[in-house]
Point group: D3
Chain length 277, copies 6
């Protein structure tokens, strides 16, 4: 039969056999947004956007073609059943971590970070968490819910009380800002991180200025430029990044496709940081 092609996976993805070390997976959870939703469409949009990029990164001077990773597709959730879906996410990451793999998860909404870190912390206790976001996400409850995109970092903190380094935050309650550990420059981040300990990166796309990335559920003015994010990322070179997520992209509000391209370029850099040659 004739051989056609599908550009289904993120560019440069290899087969599971070829890519033992690193897993890329979509996680289209889209349940607790308070303003507009649509994050369920993000994994596919990030994959599509990857095909407009080059595999070579002038920032890291690495080429994705030299990196072994496998895009396994999307974790299958039940849209209307939040607790079931959170359990499935935890189970999937449990399996990845048990096999000793690193991973990048493409959300979906930010709440996915909670089951991901629950799974990760069963194996890697002392992980340092770096959190890019416009919002604190440190509420204890939101609209009567304990589990929400607006409470996720509070839940994560409760896992063991360790510090979270938060970057780009510019929206929250007075109480959240009091609790916040705000990092205001790459130098400050470098000074705070223990270079010998593992790092987890949770990247909410609304950390970018909404001029560049309007396609998020809650756009907040006064965000980071792409260059500023790359400057923070340069700190991670040579460190042990063990996992990461990219969340809150909402492609239906990305009228020019630029938000998806940005998310995809962030993913390219993270895949390289997870996989130093």
């Amino acid at each position: 039969m004739i051989k056609g092609t599908f550009n289904k996976a993120y560019m440069g993805s290899r087969t599971a056999e070829e890519a033992a070390g690193c897993v890329l997976a979509g996680c289209p959870l889209d349940a607790t947004s308070s303003f507009r939703g649509g994050t369920r469409f993000a994994p596919e949009s990030i994959r599509r956007a990857s095909w407009t990029l080059e595999t070579y990164s002038p920032y890291l001077k690495m080429d994705l073609d030299d990196i072994a990773f496998c895009d396994v597709g999307d974790i299958e959730l039940r849209q209307g059943d939040l607790l079931y879906s959170l359990g499935v996410i935890k189970g999937a990451v449990d399996e990845i971590v048990r096999e000793g793999r690193k991973f990048l998860i493409l959300g979906g909404e930010h709440l996915i970070t909670y089951p991901i870190l629950k799974a990760l912390k069963t194996r890697i206790k002392e992980v340092q968490i770096v959190h890019f976001d416009a919002h604190c996400d440190l509420r204890d409850e939101y609209e009567g819910q304990k589990l929400s995109h607006a409470t996720v970092m509070k839940r994560v903190k409760e896992l063991d009380g360790s510090d979270i380094f938060q970057i780009g935050i510019r929206s929250g309650t007075r109480q959240e800002f009091e609790e916040l550990l705000l990092i205001e420059s790459p130098e400050a981040l470098a000074a705070r991180l223990d270079r010998s300990a593992p790092v987890y990166l949770t990247f909410d796309m609304d950390v970018f200025d909404p001029s560049l990335v309007p396609g998020v559920t809650t756009p907040e003015p006064d965000g980071l430029t792409f260059k500023e994010v790359m400057d923070y990322f340069s700190i991670f070179q040579g460190m042990n990044l063990v996992g990461a997520d990219i969340v809150e992209l909402s492609p239906d509000y990305d009228t020019t496709f630029v938000s998806s391209v940005c998310a995809s370029k962030v993913a390219r850099e993270i895949l390289m940081l997870l996989n130093p040659y």
Copy 2:
């Protein structure tokens, strides 16, 4: 202090005191959509669109200025807590019905029809249900859920097993089509309805052709024109319409505002049918 104005309510709405007979309320439930969401923004959009319409209907030869109804605003739900929200909806309609009022509820997603009818049927047992929709909504389960926009009419049927007259349906499983009671013309509807018994109307905006109403969660080609809907509505003149809902409008996909204008014009006609002079 200076007196400014807000066009907050549906045009022609009166105060609660002036409008004893009929309640208009928003119900922004937006929880179980399988494709795209956003129905939570519909009540406000329908109200805004009303201000581009005239109060006079050339179809019914009635004027909304002669109709006493009160737009009370939106029922307050918890976005992440489906069962709580369904309970609140039932409670609100219980109160409306207990006071002997008629009502039009602006969704939100189609699942709201289930708690509405549960409340209505405690007071008015023998209500005939007329269902405008592109989809059967007669699945027993959808994505593992019993309560979903795709199962709502199955749940409604189970309340007492009475017939539902379904209009405009063009999508479903083979099994749903076998169960369907499809009405294919205004004449057929007139022949089937008991003109002396009360009628409830549930109106899914995707019954319209998506050329006219693209702003829905699941657009399905081959729908009704506005004129065809008006022809069906003419059957209800002189009958006892006791309640109605308009559901599944998703304004973020209504790139030209025409979908909201259509929903708002349907609302105008229903308010008149609920309130014959």
Copy 3:
């Protein structure tokens, strides 16, 4: 490794082994458009839209789950090299036809119909061609080119001079209209077709009214409704449809996704017509 999923192919597609009889392939040729382009994005968009549809067709009372076909992905073209690409298309269809398979090709621009029919006619000489389109496409030359979306049916006619039944045409030069064999009703089509001879169907999406399908390269008012197209399709039931194409969808101008949904629904019906149980 964890098992994720990709919704890469048209819904219901089977493996090549399971689906011996019928091939679905994308053919993203996008070279000769005179006004706006973008047809290269159509195959992927049609596949994505398929996942919002049901597998059951109330028109044909068939279910795609009972149909064996295989979506093989996209034929690989060279965007800047027209003659090379036309050769590749002809080669791919040659192979499909040689193996005795039926096929549906998703364009891409209308010019693909020329190499497809060249390949098909080497095996099946006496094929009746039914052409849905807004435009005659019967020019001998366009902008100095013999091979163009605007000349394609002229080129096809020259293959052996047999008649082409043209439906929905409403734009062309005076000379094209003189040459046209316009079919103005399903009854007229039924009267002209030889029910025992094979049929090829070329379906330009701009045959639809642009209210329903604005996402085409050259929208032309006064087109067909979805129902009218279904009425024409009913004629093909019980006939020997041997191949088909759907062309000229341009997703970037489909601001509401409805054009892609229409194309995908047309594809579902054609797959059933190609594969009677």
Copy 4:
């Protein structure tokens, strides 16, 4: 110097010298809209859209290339000075009519019809007016103004009290509907028109269904299809059409360009009706 080209004018326009009989002019008045505006951009958009059409009309079996008309560009108005602008419009039409020319004016908002008809009636007293619109436009005052898009046909009626044949109307006050002379079919129009007397045609683009033409200032569901308009136009063949306007297109709300294409196709047909061979 090298010769480049501008597609500045409506397709097929000739020089003033070659086209003695018929003037096409833009008239971008955009002053009194009550909901959204933007009609000032319509003349340019209609001209641009013309280049996507063919010069041949299968409805009238005429070719624009055989028609002598001259697109003179836009009448220069002062955006903030309504009375001045209305005077300029009247002056321009006075000049056209004095020279014995026919004309098609591309609005701009509907209010332009008032100065146009004031000018026309000084020369041609007994002109029959045919009015395509969604709205009656028969208010005596609107938002405290006598001169408004919503009062224009009332003002026109006052010029001499003669009848106006109104087509497609579906929105207005009860009083306007009582005053309306609604024509409900081409046959009814044919019966009412005096075929030997001159005709003026004022065409508000919102007469079309907003599924086809969303790009208007006040979209109103339940409008005419393109085919229905062509059926009305066929009545004018062989009659003495002396002038016409096309108004209320608002290109910024025409997200797919289809509204502009429709307006441009209507213009093509009117140019042919004004200029029988």
Copy 5:
């Protein structure tokens, strides 16, 4: 009767009784735009966007919940009658100022600043005016008009000839640039302002870079970032800001809602600057 809710007013607005000191009002004047219009829709859009923000400002370390202000709705204008509307605006501000209240007015187009300042200056003579804008707005006439969005600051200057501090200006005639008093940094502003004298702030949304705020009538590249604006605003802390306006937002060109969010965040900061605890 059941209690629903409307999110009609700007978040945190109190009743007139509770909020003696500060008035928020909409002023949807939309009459003299030379390019695209639509500013009449701004007040409602700014209010809606406020509900996506937090009440706490990390810039000023204040919380809107601690601020007493009352959103009274929109001043009622007559869209087609400029002089009448300007009179109404002046009358409304006269009343606010007479009662000793501070105010924030949400335009509408920039021309509203003229009647506002006419009213303000009758009570507070020596007010320092700070003007954020992309355009000088210092023409003496524009398109033959003395009263226009393009002449407004010239008219304001004529009220008493006092200086206007202009920030962000990057478009104008040579003559306007000669007349301009351009402030190029927060430090320069601090140096020029008399901290003991009252300040009025007129904020044209096009001062922002159009990457962040495309939803204005005349976007001009090379504007301010959100952070730069906040840096200027910090100068006003501890000063006597007596009134302000935010003008020229045009929501129909705000395809991602980010422009409205920016305007709403600017409004939040201004409300806090008007109301130091």
Copy 6:
């Protein structure tokens, strides 16, 4: 006959007779784009956007009204015939250069720079080329083609091997980056340019950050701001700029018109740099 106006040409354009020194021409080549296309619509969109700008530049303190140039319209290409079109472009520039004129060409895709420079170099051998772009464009082949938007600067280099100063580049293969002569600041550019030798400027609109200019065929995050571009342009004051092009604007992806405004403002500055008083 009445005198209307067309805003057909770039603002301030004079007749050929009045503007002996400088030609502005459109060149809508749109053939080899690998992702999305649509650059053929750029010249017209840039011209339209010019009418929203002022003629005075505060950057150069010059006024376009003092500059003599002639916008001659678009060079006529054949959309489907690449080699023919490249020949026509070369011929047009040959003629301009032979007459001793300077020029600004508005693309169209970037490939046009190749025939332009072929023509220019026949007259002016030692031209220094400054290249603004997000992409290296230094591939030797792309998708099997030697002539492509992705290979254009490689082809240009081959003309005589002279250096190209490349600014804003942030995407390419490892090999392209090795070949690249990246200029990282205006100072670096000033240091490298020979102020006595002629300069050619090729300006790919994607050099801008996609937050400001999303309307390009391949948006790439991390681009230049408008101010940064103006800083580079200031270097050219007093130098002998002999020709320039602006390429890769794709208006159909410019949802807010800001990309076209930016391109038009860049054009204004270049026209002034080409024509020092």
